[in-house]
């Protein structure tokens, strides 16, 4: 038998409840699905006004220490916020900047680097992202093909990164590269010479990504986060990332279930609400089971993420269960809606696309189970 799992407290604090209600209110008022559609069809999927408002609400710096201008809150609070963002498939670079880049710098950066980089992220003046993937099915990259060679007291980066979230919006790109002493993570200015950012047409147009090529890009000595091989640190960053993503997935899945239930109550066929048919009713009930399971693992994972041993189990557990749940619920939501659910004008597809893309971006559930299996010794 595995070691006894830690007990956590699931009930939200008052502060967490406040974050939830504030976030829901703000997102429904200021983002809403009409605005999501506008942004989704826009050139860069980015709304600078909205971004500024999120910064003013303290969201961009939610998990950044107060000493760096952030709110000093933790992964549980970020999970609450991301559940709400997931409910509305909120577009923009929030996940890339406030989760990916922020976590990378917090986990890997020296105190000096954190002091230098985090305040601008917290305030939203800088949009950051992480460029870590190169191959379509390597989510735990052994060593990047991208290289960083020392030159003139600095580094020269060479390589191509894929699926760089918000790559087209980012000011600061954190790039993983092989060095002569292991993997390094380098801060690259998106506008620097030799940085070519190519936004890609994506399945989920509410979350943009780009291919980023680095053609002899020069950065200075201090651009490398921390010291020595960052492989372990990157593992922690990715674990925190998929846990944050799981919260977002739970929010989306919950909303899909609600859409289905609402529709099943009002749509009539053969003189009865379709929700009175077991085919629909039982599907909605199975959605409930999947959503509740996903919620449990996601909320558990944010609560144990600082426990290094347990998070090796809890993070991939949350990622696998929440990914599969969201993809399933979002797909069945279309089925419950029938023809209308397959139209562009209905919102169901926004969730399916978000769900499917999210289930691939940081590893499939199969990949997460592999990591989980290593952690639990199976």
């Amino acid at each position: 038998m595995a070691d006894p799992a830690p007990r956590v407290r699931f009930a939200p604090t008052e502060e967490q409840e406040l974050i939830r209600t504030t976030a829901r209110q703000f997102l429904e008022d200021r983002v809403g699905l009409d605005r999501v559609r506008e942004l989704m069809m826009s050139e860069d999927g980015f709304d600078p006004v909205l971004w500024k408002e999120m910064a003013e609400l303290g969201w961009t710096g939610l998990t950044i220490g107060e000493e760096h201008g952030g709110a000093g809150l933790g992964p549980v609070e970020m999970g609450v916020l991301l559940e709400e963002m997931g409910r509305l498939v909120t577009p923009g670079p929030f996940f890339a900047s406030a989760v990916l880049a922020t976590t990378t710098i917090s986990q890997l950066g020296s105190p000096e680097q954190q002091g230098r980089l985090l305040p601008a992220l917290a305030g939203g003046e800088t949009i950051g992202t992480l460029a870590v993937f190169e191959q379509p099915r390597q989510w735990s990259p052994p060593s990047p093909a991208t290289t960083a060679r020392r030159r003139d007291g600095g580094w020269v980066l060479e390589g191509t990164k894929r699926a760089v979230l918000a790559g087209g919006n980012a000011d600061l790109i954190l790039v993983t590269a092989a060095t002569d002493d292991g993997v390094g993570v380098f801060c690259v200015d998106a506008g620097a010479d030799g940085v070519v950012v190519e936004p890609e047409p994506v399945l989920d147009p509410t979350r943009r990504q780009a291919t980023v090529s680095l053609q002899s890009v020069t950065v200075d000595e201090g651009a490398r986060l921390g010291e020595g091989d960052a492989t372990g640190g990157l593992g922690r960053v990715l674990a925190r990332t998929v846990v944050a993503l799981a919260a977002e997935q739970v929010g989306g899945a919950q909303r899909c279930m609600e859409m289905s239930v609402e529709y099943a109550k009002t749509r009539h066929q053969f003189g009865r609400p379709i929700g009175s048919y077991q085919a629909i009713k039982h599907r909605c009930a199975n959605m409930l089971v999947k959503v509740e399971h996903a919620r449990s693992v996601a909320r558990y994972a944010v609560r144990v993420i600082d426990d290094e041993e347990e998070s090796r189990v809890a993070a991939p557990l949350a990622a696998a269960v929440a990914s599969d749940a969201y993809v399933w619920v979002a797909g069945e939501n279309i089925q419950v809606h029938g023809g209308i659910g397959f139209t562009w004008e209905h919102d169901a597809h926004l969730y399916l696309k978000r769900a499917k893309a999210s289930s691939l971006l940081f590893g499939t559930s199969r990949h997460h189970r592999e990591l989980m299996g290593q952690a639990i010794g199976i």
Partner: protein
Amino acid sequence: MTDPVNERLDDLVDALLADHPPAETPEQEFWGAQYDRGLAWAWHPVGFGGLGLQRRHQSRINDRLVAAGASIENRYRNLLGIAMGAGVLDAHATDEQKRRWLRPMFTTEELWCQLFSEPGAGSDVAGLATRAVEDGDEWVVNGQKVWTTMAHVAKWGMLVTRTDPEAPKHLGMTYFVVDMTSPGVDVRPLYQITGEAEFNEVFFNDVRIPDENRIDAVGAGWRVALTTLMNERVAIGGGSIPRESGYIGQAVQAWRDSGADDPVLRDRLLALWAEAEAARLTSIRADEMASAGIPGPEGSTGKLAWANLNKEITALTMEILGLDGTLYPEGYELKRPERFGPHEPQKAFLRTRANSIEGGTSEIMLNILGERVLGLPGEPRVDKDLPWIEVPRG
């Protein structure tokens, strides 16, 4: 074993080919000649594109035409007309109506579409609300239809309307053929989650249809519509496709291209390969049994099975693609499609979500299998005998 009917058919086909060599004859001219000689729908009466034979004789004709290099592309180009509309006309139309419509339908000079589904009447087609009101020798139609393919290019539409809202829902309907170029017909593209509009919404705003375009009696619309739906079922049936073709072929290709070697994904691919092959063999078995005159339950499972399979296979292909699955190479620029597939894998993933909805949802297919094939009892019906206007809707 020689069959005198087959011999005569072969002679007729040979004569058609000799008089109108496919290589030198414009397609529409060839199809016109084919119609005039009764080689269009062999089971139709003489004079209406047929010879009074059986459906299976048409397969023989088509095989020989294809072998001789003639095109049978009209069957796809005007699918809704030739596969469904013709059956309705054959069963329910007057001779005059058939003479007016069948030949240009077969030559594709006049394309057809089908106007059944409505926003409020999907699975429950009989719940439709598009009204037709008699006005002298004409009918005035108001309402909205959805999910009509071809409506933007069609000359004629097969239209089911409600003419008596006081009658129970299945009784108060009447069937028309509507000229899609009439004033008041407004065809708009209906964009799907792929960003493409394969389908249309069609709005009817005081559209006038002459009574001579009515098919069968006033109030007989549901019976006529059922003929169409039954012909649709036949047309959608699997047919004979090669092993490892279609979506499973695409998945295998993606697997090989990816250089993937994960045994877990491979086993899932193999499981779907096996199910796809089982479904394919079931279609072949069903075709053989049906043409031998002993149709069995194996003929009714294809639509349901392929809907599930297509969805699962394309989802697995996305997983095989990994990060490539998060791309959407064509982008979502809203447009009418230039072709109906094959789709790139990401679009195939989205497109197949509708396979369990279009042409009868999987829930309805399961009801049909349960009730009509296995003989299980129906649901209690609350709407059967109520006047249509009193049936709850929404």
